[in-house]
Assembly symmetry: C2
Homo-oligomer: 306 residues x 2
């Protein structure tokens, strides 16, 4: 089986390094960073932290080098989905492509380029320490299921999930992956931008009754949009939020969007709150708070061009 | 006639310097800045910009020095109202006290300390350049009227307005000053914090359809809270917002709250959006967007203690 990781950033590297340890899987890693690609090809792809792994995927910045693959796993930031799948789609002409990215709308983009699409969501997290070296911060589950308008066959989804699980990345193949995906999107959309706009850690956001109420307002809108689509969340995002606020979990966590804002990097807001607003409009569900937060973070991004 | 300016900051200095030029008015200026007070007593209070004035108010940091006054005009930042009126109330035992401060709720605070209160709002603006020297940025009208629960007599309000007008600060005495006050509060609450949270100038906020829609959402809530109190706005805040966005008016204006945030100074958010939320609750009008903005700016303030 041949798998291509499309976007070998922090989370992509977790998949690429672990999957490359399996004897029956050949792993390719496509990424736009020449330094990261060169380091992987010269010294292997090293994970450290939650697991110590040195993987040996074949890495390239040149999509034309990619051979036909059984599976793609797209792990770019959401705003790079289109460019990444446009460049690599030829390798998946007979394969299936999964996304485990943040946000919503990635499946729709991928489906414009490939026939069989897998909807997914993943919880492991990490960060790139230097080219070829990735800190594995958090282990966690991945869920994969068919993307309804252009579904991959369930047997193929199970084959990919089995490989990931055997590689140390526990993965469930399910008939409907929208519940876990929307739970994560609602969690992220309701907490990340609040950290980004205020500069507060997750725990300090949750300690303030006024901000915690705003978080709940955002969650309620997200739940309503999910419910209007017939999506049953696999757990209440509110529980996840309170759990993460505990000192021993993620009280001191500065959201990835806060880190983006501090580094003046474009955020994923269009695919988090923006995605909830778009799906809300399609299904006639008002989302005024998500609209407000979306607009404010877009305004912050624009201020960097001043 | 003796008038005490309570809080001789930028706007207070405009009143103090101009009023001190009148032969029939004795002006005292109470302020907590010893440097500003000393400069005023040594070299006078100089205004430059929209008008060139050197006034000669008597300035003090010691409220006990204040003689009995016919009028007080409170011009502190809203979060300092309580301390300022508590210290100076003795001077107004037989007088009337006006507020021309930003935000809502100042009259209620003042009325806990003095018998006759004047509700007011003012549009002139400026900034302190150095102790004793104030840049007069914008001329504008002031409106004064009785504070309904503890009203000053209309004849006294007219006497104060007449003095201000003769001093070059055009001032109207009206039976109901709530319309101009709420128009200004709604304008400020709907625009200042958006600039503060995004870092954008007023014009650039208004150019983005998503942020301009958020501004309108905030305005609509403010109008509903005003209407529930039977307040008739003297003009539509939307018109003021569009007018200010013009290049020749205030396109490049960085809101005072943005300046506060950049300097890590406590903002007036509690008296702007916070005031709209409080009055909304009292009158059963939901204000979810003002609540969200209030919470976000409070979160920003808290992040400075991290």
């Amino acid at each position: 089986m041949r798998i291509c990781i499309v976007g070998c950033g922090a989370v992509g590297s977790l998949f690429a390094a672990n999957l490359s340890l399996l004897d029956d899987v050949e792993v390719w890693a496509y990424d736009v960073s020449q330094a990261h690609v060169d380091a992987i090809n010269e010294r292997g792809l090293r994970l450290t932290g939650a697991g110590e792994v040195v993987g040996r995927p074949r890495a390239t910045t040149d999509a034309a080098e990619l051979p036909p693959c059984d599976f793609g796993i797209v792990v770019t930031k959401a705003m790079h989905t289109e460019a990444a799948i446009a460049a690599t789609a030829h390798a998946f002409a007979d394969g299936c492509v999964a996304t485990v990215q943040n946000g919503i709308g990635n499946e729709e983009t991928i489906a414009r380029y490939v026939e069989r699409v897998i909807r997914g969501t993943t919880f492991p997290a990490g960060k790139i320490l230097e080219p070829g070296v990735v800190q594995w911060d958090v282990k966690g589950d991945t869920t994969l299921g068919p993307f309804e308008p252009r579904p991959a066959p369930l047997a193929e989804i199970e084959r990919l999930a089995d490989a990931c699980t055997r590689a140390g990345m526990p993965t469930h193949a399910v008939p409907d992956a929208r519940g876990p995906q929307w739970r994560k999107v609602i969690f992220n959309a309701s907490t990340n931008p609040i950290g980004a706009l205020t500069g507060l850690t997750h725990g300090r956001v949750c300690e303030r009754p006024d901000l915690r109420a705003l978080v709940s307002g955002l969650v309620a809108e997200g739940k309503a949009v999910a419910a209007a689509q017939g999506i049953v969340l696999d757990a209440d995002p509110e529980e996840l939020i309170d759990h993460a606020a505990k000192p021993e979990v993620a009280y001191d966590h500065r959201s990835s969007m806060l880190q983006d804002v501090e580094a003046r990097r474009q955020t994923e807001i269009d695919y988090l709150n923006g995605g909830i607003v778009r799906f809300g409009r399609e299904h006639g569900v008002p989302t005024p708070l998500n609209e407000a937060i979306w607009a404010l973070v877009k305004g912050v991004e624009q201020s960097w061009q001043q």
